[in-house]
Symmetry: C2
Subunit: 151 residues, 2 copies
DNA sequence: ATATTACATTTGTATATACAATTGTTGTAT
DNA sequence: ATACAACAATTGTATATACAAATGTAATAT
């Protein structure tokens, strides 16, 4: 993993705020790349995977697009198109809501559930690995700092 | 800013590693959105802005595409196309390298430099603002933890 | 009852990114 | 000198995201 100093070769000392922001960008890339390399063989992007997990969390109850969008970690401008791709792969189903035909209900399929259950231990593993350089105490500190940061 | 609990309504307690990863994703989005809203009026994306700063750091000396890519915070699969857009806006110039015609040298223009000099204090400001919930000590802690995380 | 407004999703356009294939140039091996 | 490998950038295809406009449905106001 590249360090700040390696990347910003020509720079003087950066203000702490900028260093922090850059470090968050780098950490984000680090996590996303690792996740993607695990999900790739399952033909899923990180975002698609997260939506599938959201749908599973509903225990077979459907969610409409806005509900999904609200629960997404990376706010998605285009849930429609993301769902389109999950549909093509057979991981979700889509129905117009009977009570309010403006809304679209989305379900996870058996195939989607099966894929998630295969992925669960793999993802747990990579998440552990990616954070293994920090102790539990340090992880808690990091969490608290990040939460406070954007409070 | 949304909290983890608000987003993941249906979830049980998450493992600390997952919480940390999600928190980094959220922080990344937070920073990027704020930066973008500042850069938007200047017709620049966050990534384009960063490349311009890299080029300025060279003090008028040119960089080829690979050098730029190495210095970029968000590794860019397509520096070519990013530079294309900076070119259209007149912020950079592009020449084939005489010594090695495979390489393309890229310079920042006066217009690019002028735009950066206008942006400098604005960016400093927003960076301060975005991190103002943390003390200097906390920012240092956060930096150290993030560095250690991906060491 | 019709017009207007608000709601929910879709579509279009643009940028950033991932990855593979292609093009053109240079260096090397024989 | 020619063939082949390595290098540097470009192009093509796909996904995610930002934002605006368009479509279709429901609620309301008169």
């Amino acid at each position: 993993m590249k360090e700040l100093e390696d990347i910003l070769k020509t720079s003087k000392t950066l203000p702490l705020s900028r260093k922090t922001i850059i470090n968050v960008f780098l950490s984000n890339t680090y996590f996303k790349d690792e996740m993607l390399s695990v999900l790739k063989p399952f033909d899923l992007s990180v975002e698609q995977f997260n939506v599938l997990r959201i749908l599973r969390g509903q225990n077979e109850k459907p969610l409409n697009l806005q509900d999904i969008q609200d629960r997404m970690v990376n706010k998605m401008s285009n849930t429609t198109r993301l769902i389109d791709k999950l549909l093509l792969k057979g991981f979700v189903e889509r129905n117009t809501c009977a009570k309010n035909r403006r809304k679209i209900e989305i379900f996870i399929t058996q195939d989607g559930l099966k894929t998630l259950s295969v992925l669960d231990p793999i993802i747990d593993d990579i998440e552990q690995q990616m954070t293994s350089n920090l102790s539990q105490t340090e992880l808690e500190q990091l969490n608290n700092l990040l939460t406070k940061l954007k409070a």
